[in-house]
Every structure is written in structure tokens, then in C-alpha cells.
């Protein structure tokens, strides 16, 4: 297994946002996490990416406990998260946004040699990265907007830029927090195409969404959360027919007796 979440719990004061959740992520799979609003999906993902410290429990990445590591260290290991509300550097151009995200790639490829760039060496590495950035942006349908300020993008474009930046980090496990929310029909189709391509290139995906239809199309395995607890796990169809899941989404009246 690539990643193991064991007994993960997060309490904010009196509120238990995530309660004793355990699951695994296998290499090369696309897994989904579903649940109604406020069920603890984002909190769970934030803990996996090191943005929040868990109250209890452990996250193991290839056997190593990582829940106490800083987010940048976790990103360097290959776990990269995108945000539900798109986060971009609003004052930079789309291209420069993605160039910032090449930090890890440059660090991996050149190590301490990148200090040579300060005296003008290593322009070739920079050009290679710029080429990869252009590719990633084109892939995310932002090829025509590279010179625009990120702050002027539409919500959907900002989201795709967030994804492009995450891709530039060359993630081994990509954590996506509601990537489809706020996107139009065509944008979702493009998103699915991008994610399929990224997956085919070897990345493992873990996608949080409450849009069940979107996840059903792409994930092979789904876990369902409600009130911070895991209530079901399995193939999407089975999970969606699970009475506990139906109740969580639609209320008791709709649950089969």
C-alpha cells in the first residue's frame, strides 16, 4: 500500500470533525471520498497533506509516519494537495504561478547545484522547466491565458491552475479537494480527461467530492464519511446503495427500510 490512514481523529475544541477514520490508498488507484457538506472530508485531506495536525491517529506513507511532518516536506515526498477554494498567487501571471510550482522539480533535478543559477549558470534547466510549465498549462486548458494575471481568471480557470500547479510538483499521490465543484459541464469533461491522463502517467489519485456522479465515473473505490466517521467503503455502486450513505445524503425518510 502507498498510504495508510489509521485511527485519524481531529477535534476542534468540542467539535469532532474527523473521528477514528482508517483506510488505505493502493498504488496506482483512483479512490474517492464522498460525504455530505460538513462530514469532515476536507479536514481529513488536510491532515493527510500535513496542513492540519491530527488530534490522534497516524498517516503512513510507504510505512513511514508522516502526520507530524511539515506540509512542504510532505509535498517533497510526493503527496500534493489542491484546494477546494482555489489558491493562486493573484498578482503573478498564470505562467509565473506555475513556475513557482516547479520548485520541487528543480530541487530534485539539480539539488544544491541550483545555487549556480544565482551567478547565471543552469539556464538550460530553467528553459526545460518553462517548457514543462507550458505543457501543463495547455493540458489544463490554460494555454491561451499564460500571460494573464491569475487574479483575473474565472473560478473554474483558477481551479484548473491549482491543478496545473499541483501537477508541476510531480505528485505520486495527488489529493484533490472537490476539483469539480463550481465547474461547468465542459470544464468537468476536461478535468476528467486531465485526471485520466495524470493517472495513466503513474500518479495515484485521491479525490474528495460530494458530486456523486462525477466520482462514480472516475473512482474505482470509494469511502463515505458522515459526521466525521467512515460509514461505508467499496466500489462506488455498492457504496451509493448503502442505506447509511443514502440516509446521510437524503435523510432518514429516503432510506430503505
Amino acid at each position: 500500500m502507498l498510504l495508510e490512514v489509521r485511527g485519524l481523529t481531529k477535534r476542534f475544541m468540542g467539535l469532532t470533525a474527523v473521528s477514528d477514520v482508517s483506510f488505505t490508498v493502493e498504488p496506482g488507484e483512483i479512490m474517492g471520498i464522498i460525504g455530505p457538506n460538513g462530514s469532515g472530508k476536507t479536514t481529513l485531506l488536510s491532515m493527510m497533506a500535513g496542513l492540519l495536525a491530527p488530534t490522534a491517529g497516524a498517516v503512513r506513507w510507504q510505512g513511514e509516519e508522516i502526520q507530524h511532518l511539515r506540509p512542504d516536506v510532505i509535498a517533497a515526498r510526493g503527496i500534493v494537495k489542491t484546494f477546494q477554494n482555489p489558491q493562486v498567487f493573484a498578482e503573478l501571471t498564470v505562467f509565473d504561478n506555475a513556475m513557482v510550482a516547479t520548485h520541487l522539480a528543480l530541487k530534485r533535478s539539480r539539488g544544491a547545484r541550483r545555487l549556480g543559477e544565482l551567478v547565471g549558470l543552469g539556464r538550460a534547466a530553467e528553459r526545460t522547466l518553462a517548457g514543462q510549465v507550458a505543457e501543463a498549462l495547455a493540458l489544463c486548458n490554460l494555454g491561451g491565458a499564460t500571460r494573464q494575471l491569475a487574479g483575473n481568471l474565472s473560478y473554474g480557470e483558477e481551479k484548473m491552475l491549482g491543478l496545473a500547479m499541483a501537477l508541476m510538483c510531480r505528485p505520486r499521490l495527488l489529493l484533490l479537494d472537490e476539483p469539480a465543484s463550481g465547474l461547468g459541464r465542459e470544464e468537468i469533461d476536461n478535468l476528467v480527461a486531465v485526471l485520466t491522463k495524470v493517472h495513466a502517467a503513474g500518479a495515484t489519485l485521491c479525490i474528495v467530492d460530494h458530486k456523486v456522479g462525477f466520482l462514480r465515473g472516475i473512482a474505482r473505490r470509494v469511502i463515505a464519511l458522515d459526521h466525521g466517521e467512515k460509514i461505508a467503503e467499496g466500489p462506488p455502486e455498492a457504496v451509493l446503495e448503502n442505506p447509511a450513505v443514502i440516509e446521510a445524503y437524503l435523510g432518514r425518510a429516503h432510506a430503505p427500510a
Binding site: 489558491q87 498578482e91 520548485h103 544565482l118
Partner: protein, 314 residues
């Protein structure tokens, strides 16, 4: 780019046409304060950390460079190296404490100010070394080796003009190199969105410290020069006023640009000479200019000019 080259060339050619000591003196002060402004801008305008630590390294280096030269007999240039290293060590200590506790904006400003004040008090009260409030009279001159002329001492306005101008140019080049590389991208990412920078794998603590250390090391050199140029050092070099003056230059000229702080330095160093004012009136004028700038053109002179050019080009 061309405009910048023309401006720099004009500065280098100026003493050929202008022999006025008055003007050259103003420009020498402009260049030294410009070095402080540019390096503060690296930390504040580009990395987003409002540092009030500049006068501390400026003053400490002024003292150290002179004391090492006079007591230990080091040549000026050799004496600036331990001074710069001291600045780096001080910046590392203060920066580590501030950045570990994730101090930002005004909290960072206040804590760096407090550290600078502690260092000022040490300098003020360490009579046996610093001569306390009386200060030190700096004797001796920096020397440089010039092709065809051998070792010459820097004296007279023209020599000082070139020494400080070259120092400023080098400071700007070092900052520009940092900023145009991946390091500058990290600085900008930290300024604009620290949390996003973290999730993209940028070690925020390390790059904040790098910016703070580079900025302070370069600022220390300005201190060494200033002590020798004015031939006098006193604990006032480390005062809060210095911080405020340099910050005013950066804001007036344009934060987040490398030329802005130099323009700001030119305006604020020449004003009191052009308009003869008493110290109190000067403080009022400074304040008025600062308020005016922040209200009318928050991007400063150069920032506003750049925006105007961009609009015209579009």
C-alpha cells in the same frame, strides 16, 4: 531595460560633467541609503517581511569595520567581511526566532525592532569599546587598487561617488540575480500566499531566513562605508529613526522594485538640502510625504510610473 541602462550610465558619467561637491555629496548619501533601501526592499517588498532590523546591522557593521581596521589593523575591505558575517549571524538568530514563531507583518516588525533596540543599548553602554554616546571619530580611508594607478586611498567627493555608486550597483546586481532565479520565485510565493507556497513544497522558513540574511549582509556593507564616509560613528546609527527613514524611502520610491528605493533615497536625502529645514520641520515633511504617497500612490514613484508605462503600452 534600455531605460535602466541609460539611467545607470548617466550616473556613472555624471562626475565628468558635474563638479559640484554639493551635488556629489547628496548623491553619495543617496547611494549609501539606496543600498539600505534596496536590501530592505528585498526583505520587505519582495519577501513580504516588514523588517525593522536594518539599523542594527548598519550600525554594528559601521563600528565593527572601523574597530577591526583601527584595532586589529585590517585593511578596510578585509574588515568588511567579518562585519558581514556578523550581520548574517545576527540575522540568522533574530530571523530564526521570528520565523519559528511565525511572526508576520506588524508582529515581525515589532520584534525585529525590539532586537535592534537591544543591540543599540548594548552599543550605547559598552563604553570601553564604542565610547558610548560620544561615538568614535573614524580616521583612515578605504583604499582600492586601480589598474595603472596602484593602490589609491579614497578621498574627495569624486572618489567617494564612484566607490558608493559601484557598491550600490553591486548590491542591486546581487539582489536582481537572487530575484530573477528560483530563489526570487520562492520569495514572491511567500509574500503572496505562504500556505500555498508550503503545499507546493517550498520551505517557507528557510527562504524567509535566506532573504533576511542576504538583505542584512548587504546592508552591513552600507554601514561600513557610511562610517568611513562621515568619519564619525555614534549609537544614533542604530536608532529607530534610521529604520523609519529607510522604510519611508522604500515606500516613497516603490516597494517591490529595485530602482524604487534608490529614487526614494534620492528624494528624501536631497529634500533637506534643497529646502533648508530644521530637524523638527524635516520630520514633519517626511511624515507628510509618506502620508501623501500612501494615500495617492501606494505603489510609490517607480511603481506608479511602471503601471503608467504598462497601461500606455497596452
Amino acid at each position: 531595460m534600455i531605460l535602466r541602462l541609460v539611467l545607470w550610465s548617466a550616473l556613472y558619467a555624471l562626475p565628468i560633467f558635474v563638479r559640484s561637491d554639493f551635488l556629489l555629496t547628496i548623491l553619495i548619501f543617496t547611494f549609501i541609503y539606496g543600498m539600505l533601501g534596496v536590501t530592505l526592499d528585498l526583505i520587505f517588498g519582495f519577501t513580504g517581511q516588514l523588517s525593522m532590523f536594518h539599523p542594527a546591522v548598519f550600525g554594528v557593521s559601521a563600528y565593527m569595520t572601523y574597530l577591526l581596521a583601527s584595532k586589529a589593523g585590517l585593511p578596510f575591505w578585509l574588515a568588511t567581511i567579518p562585519s558581514a558575517l556578523t550581520a548574517v549571524v545576527l540575522a540568522m538568530i533574530v530571523g530564526s526566532i521570528c520565523f519559528k514563531f511565525r511572526l508576520k507583518t506588524f508582529y515581525f516588525a515589532v520584534v525585529t525592532l525590539a532586537f535592534a533596540e537591544v543591540i543599540r543599548l548594548v552599543v550605547l553602554n559598552w563604553n570601553s569599546v564604542t565610547n558610548g554616546t560620544l561615538g568614535l571619530v573614524v580616521t583612515g580611508r578605504p583604499t582600492v587598487w586601480l589598474p595603472g594607478m596602484g593602490v589609491v586611498a579614497i578621498k574627495g567627493p569624486v572618489a567617494w561617488y564612484y566607490l558608493t555608486l559601484v557598491s550600490l550597483t553591486l548590491t542591486v546586481i546581487v539582489c536582481a540575480r537572487c530575484l530573477s532565479s528560483w530563489m526570487g520565485r520562492c520569495f514572491g510565493a511567500i509574500r503572496l500566499n505562504e500556505d500555498l507556497a508550503r503545499t507546493l513544497g517550498i520551505d517557507v522558513f528557510r527562504y524567509k531566513l535566506a532573504s533576511f540574511a542576504v538583505g542584512n549582509a548587504l546592508a552591513s556593507f552600507a554601514g561600513g562605508l557610511y562610517g568611513y564616509y562621515t568619519a564619525y560613528i555614534d549609537p544614533g546609527y542604530l536608532s529607530i529613526n534610521q529604520s523609519m527613514d529607510v522604510l519611508a524611502m522604500v515606500l516613497l520610491g516603490g516597494q517591490g522594485t529595485l530602482i524604487g528605493p534608490i529614487v526614494g533615497s534620492l528624494v528624501l536625502t536631497s529634500l533637506p538640502h534643497v529646502i533648508d529645514l530644521r530637524a523638527e520641520a524635516r520630520a514633519i515633511l517626511y511624515g507628510a510625504i509618506l502620508i501623501f504617497t500612501i494615500l495617492v500612490m501606494p505603489r510609490g514613484i517607480v511603481g506608479t510610473f511602471n503601471a503608467w508605462r504598462a497601461r500606455r503600452a497596452a
